[in-house]
């Protein structure tokens, strides 16, 4: 990120020398900074309102209800964890919080889940299958309500800021399934390779 930011500024300035737009570029930078405070102000209200409702969902039991709903899916994804309640509990909490877009609640639960999975990992150097699958779920976006984006859209005067929800659902689910499928394939080949190594070592 450091390099990207530096390159954005340096290359812009260099390009402006060639295109003869030095003054405009500097002015645009200043306007950009000015605009960013306008963006954040027009976006803060809606963002905070959503966070108010999400907090209510967290404390009021809506997230727990969601956890119960998704519990069978978790069992399906992590068959080995059926009897490990602690790890399963953290994973469920993490996924429900992610679904509701409560990032602040999702990350601590996710880290706790990873530490539980780390304890039962038989190959400490390498990420276990469960860890890999859990990470892929978290690197896919599985939000029910993309609050930040909705807030930003209405800040820029969208007539229907929520209209993106249905396509976002379809795309997130497709992306998640594809990522999980890919992960399963990779894990399958990894296991196959490991077996080969064991056989050659053994005999």
């Amino acid at each position: 990120m450091n390099y990207i930011f530096a390159f954005m500024i340096i290359l812009s300035l260099i390009t402006s020398f060639f295109t003869g737009t030095v003054n405009e570029t500097v002015q645009a930078g200043l306007d950009g900074a000015k605009n960013s405070i306008e963006i954040i102000l027009s976006f803060a209200g809606i963002m905070c309102m959503w966070c108010g409702f999400l907090k209510l969902a967290e404390e009021g039991g809506a997230i727990n209800a969601l956890s119960k709903l998704i519990s069978p899916i978790i069992n399906l994804l992590f068959p080995k964890l059926k009897h490990n309640n602690k790890a399963k509990e953290y994973i469920t909490a993490n996924i429900s919080a992610n679904l509701l877009g409560v990032g602040n609640a999702a990350t601590p639960a996710g880290i706790a889940a990873m530490q539980e999975l780390d304890k039962i990992n038989k190959t400490p150097d390498h990420a276990s299958d469960e860890m890999s699958i859990f990470t892929v779920i978290n690197t896919s976006s599985i939000q029910l309500i993309p609050t930040t984006i909705i807030a930003l859209r209405s800040a820029f005067g969208s007539l229907n800021p929520e209209c993106i929800i249905p396509p976002v659902w379809i795309c997130s689910i497709t992306a998640l399934f594809c990522a999980l499928f890919m992960m399963k394939i990779i894990l399958f080949f990894k296991r196959k390779n490991n077996k080969k190594i064991h056989i050659t070592r053994g005999g």
Binding site: A28, C51, G60, A127, T135, V136, C163
Partner: protein
């Protein structure tokens, strides 16, 4: 479609009423937490909005868009959206800055505005998540996860373009 949001609000409040929690003060707590999040986003947003505005004014953005358009044309991705797709896996705040630039430049309800919003919603800050989640474990090798995670992001981007074009 327009019932999604009110239904979610209703469900949340009904659950909270059943559990008899202080609804009003909890809501206000949430607002405060939201304000903290907004303040947390602000520095990154300012940095990226400034840098992107400079890129646009200097003509660098046009050059980049022209350079990458042969690749994006294959997948029918509008090239103004690609900078967003490139920065998304690395920085969530940075992506938000670029998204706001796109929404300002092309209007949020235009096809490009919608595609950008959907892509933002169906992808994640993949590399950041990978780093944070493995920080407190003994695991040293996570290389095999990256292809799957990045594949998910690519599918999210292509699906985002397809779904937006079909829906709108």
């Amino acid at each position: 479609m327009s019932y999604i949001v009110p239904v979610i609000f209703l469900l949340i409040i009904i659950f909270a009423l059943r559990k008899k929690i202080p609804i009003y003060s909890t809501f206000c707590d949430g607002v405060q937490w939201g304000m903290k999040t907004v303040i947390g986003i602000f520095p990154v947003l300012l940095a990226i909005t400034t840098a992107v505005a400079m890129m646009r004014a200097s003509g660098l953005m046009d050059i980049i868009i022209r350079l990458i358009s042969p690749i994006t044309d294959i997948f029918h991705i509008p090239s103004p959206v690609l900078p967003l797709a490139l920065i998304r896996p690395i920085s969530g705040g940075g992506a938000l800055g670029i998204l706001s630039d796109i929404l300002k430049e092309y209007n949020p309800d235009s096809l490009i505005g919608i595609i950008a919003s959907v892509i933002m919603g169906s992808t994640e800050t993949t590399f950041y998540t990978l780093m944070v989640y493995f920080k407190n474990t003994r695991v040293k090798y996570t290389k095999h996860i990256i292809p799957a995670a990045v594949f998910g992001d690519i599918v999210g981007i292509i699906a985002g373009v397809a779904a937006s074009t079909i829906f709108f």
